[in-house]
């Protein structure tokens, strides 16, 4: 019987210094934060972080000095537009960056997922994306008579992808039940190996795949391991199970004000076992009661 169940620490044990790690989700939605906190607590270093649609994943790993290079299109907490720990780290020149357009990042993942070396695009033309020092962008010319010159977006191929989903069985059949699947599918398909945290691991029958098929983004063969991590996206959302926690995100934002403030946040919310974290945020009941945000 195929059993891919692991713990969060088992997943972190699969990571090593210098690895390229891709993170799913978007800003404040479905970030695998339990895993990010575990990486922040670990001895891992010199990571290349691919977080095109970044939020606290970037900020927390920046604040804990884990990043050697960041591949991203933005870092934002949406309702709080600027990611404060990302800002501090960028302004200190703490790591190299490859800054991409959101669609260009998606295009790189798509090339990775299709096992192509690159995909052509116009995105980046006329901008500093293709002139920045972080990467030597190449161009291709259309062979079809029009002769148009296009940007060759290289495949993005993380060593490991980390995503958060809603349900899984023990074989790694996943359901991502949010109304917006984001680009987690392409990230997983692009990566060499992928690990998912899920709100709940259930028997296959309970996935009710007949009715939920549209929420099943990838074949289980793409998933190396699954860890049950209830509230594992908090303080980002795992809608419809729970919404983002604006109050906690505010606390996190305030923690960037000084090294002391960050040390306090880190001691209370990062350097603790997940059960203690959950108690500190008021437990499952408080998270279930979080209001639907207004955009």
């Amino acid at each position: 019987m195929l059993d891919k169940r692991m713990t969060i620490d088992d997943i972190v044990d699969q990571l090593s210094d210098g690895m390229t790690i891709g993170v799913g989700g978007w800003a404040t939605r479905r970030k695998p934060m339990a895993l990010i906190r575990a990486i922040a607590r670990s001895g891992l270093k010199d990571l290349t972080l691919m977080a095109g649609y970044g939020g606290m994943d970037i900020g927390m790993l920046a604040a804990t000095g884990k990043i050697r290079k960041l591949v991203f299109a933005f870092a934002s907490l949406d309702h709080f537009p600027l990611e404060p720990h990302f800002r501090n780290a960028r302004q200190a020149g703490a790591f190299e960056v490859l800054e991409l357009d959101e669609g260009l990042y998606h295009w790189g993942l798509r090339a990775g997922a299709m096992k192509l070396p690159f995909l052509p695009t116009r995105v980046g033309i006329g901008t500093d994306i293709i002139t920045q020092s972080g990467f030597d962008f190449k161009f291709v010319t259309s062979p079809y008579g029009d002769g148009e010159q296009l940007v060759a977006m290289p495949a993005l191929v993380p060593d490991v992808a980390l995503i958060h989903a809603h349900r899984s069985d023990e074989k790694g059949n996943l359901l991502t039940q949010s109304k917006d699947a984001l680009f987690d599918e392409l990230l997983v398909r692009a990566a060499t190996r992928s690990f998912a945290t899920v709100e709940k691991i259930v028997p296959t029958a309970e996935l009710d795949m007949k009715h939920n098929s549209r929420y099943n983004l990838v074949e289980r063969a793409m998933i190396t391991g699954v860890a049950e991590a209830p509230l594992g996206a908090h303080p980002s959302s795992a809608d419809p199970d729970y919404q983002l926690d604006l109050k906690h995100i505010k606390t996190y934002v305030d923690s960037a004000a000084s090294p002391e403030a960050w040390a306090e946040y880190k001691a209370k919310y990062v350097d603790v076992p997940e059960a203690e974290y959950q108690a500190a945020i008021g437990g499952a009941e408080a998270v279930a009661a979080l209001p639907v945000p207004i955009y």
């Binding site: 299109a73 933005f74 917006d180």
Partner: protein, 265 residues
């Protein structure tokens, strides 16, 4: 003269709405309260075919204003992340966005100020600006028309392509580059001057061309020697704006919510 009183925010909303006139059936994205209400106003008056979203991932039948809602809107389609790129790469979108910097070419920046490797100020990152700029029409809103926004040289990190021949790939502007209007607290501009030079097309009531030029880091063209005044909102438009923005978020955009006609002030 009209005796209808209106705020600068309402004047700007009406000016922003004009971006979507004669656009056909496109996705209308207004970033920030005034452009968003502007898109709603366009949809409820002269541009009923445009599609607007709830700001998350649904197209809604009726435009949704900023802030708290009394009821869930009716959804008419899905605008999830993947679909937004499909739509925008098709060209069937017109976004009105609010960058931090813009230059004489229309190149815009929301990424960083200073050296990109170690910025003085790190902001959002390029987001979808590069792709937007070469895929579909774009317009702009700047709440503070000054030389920090309208800068003398090139913007610090070019996130949106502009009409800058030095950056053209094939010796011509990128396919799909189509910059439309710039609405500010002082005036409305477009790219209709010689070689796409930015040009003042209307001045808000009480504002002079010299005042606009003095607050801009590069030379501006004029649509005519006698520049028209930005049209004041009509009573009907003000009523629709009030319905679209029952939370009065528009009153919080400009400091002290000034009147739209600064001659009268």
């Amino acid at each position: 003269m009209t005796d209808i009183s209106y705020s600068l925010a309402e004047l700007v909303i009406v000016a922003c709405a004009e971006a979507w006139r004669d656009n056909g059936e496109v996705m209308a994205t207004g970033i920030g309260p005034l452009p968003r209400i502007g898109a709603g106003l366009a949809k409820l008056t002269f541009a009923p075919a445009i599609q607007t979203t709830d700001g998350e991932c649904w197209y809604t039948t009726e435009p949704v204003g900023p802030g708290k809602r009394t009821a869930e809107p009716e959804f008419e389609g899905i605008a999830n992340y993947d679909r937004v790129f499909s739509a925008l790469w098709s060209g069937k979108r017109h976004a009105l966005v609010g960058p931090v910097q813009i230059d004489r070419y229309g190149q815009a920046n929301i990424s960083s100020i200073g050296d990109h490797k170690k910025p003085k100020i790190a902001m959002l990152g390029a987001r979808g600006f590069p792709g937007n700029s070469i895929s579909h029409p774009n317009s702009f809103f700047f709440p503070n028309h000054n030389k920090r926004a309208f800068i003398e040289g090139e913007v610090d990190f070019v996130c949106m392509a502009g009409y800058n021949p030095a950056r053209y790939l094939n010796g011509q502007p990128p396919k799909g580059l189509d910059l439309r209007i710039i609405v500010t607290n002082l005036c409305v501009m477009d790219f209709g001057g010689p070689d796409h030079q930015i040009r003042v097309v209307s001045l808000h009531p009480g504002v002079t061309f010299d005042e606009v030029q003095d607050n801009t880091g590069f030379p501006l063209a004029k649509i005519a020697d006698d520049i028209p005044t930005t049209p004041a909102p009509t009573a009907e438009q003000l009523e629709i704006i009030a319905k679209l923005d029952p939370n009065n978020v528009r009153a919080t955009v400009f400091k002290d919510n000034p009147a739209g006609d600064r001659k009268a002030a």
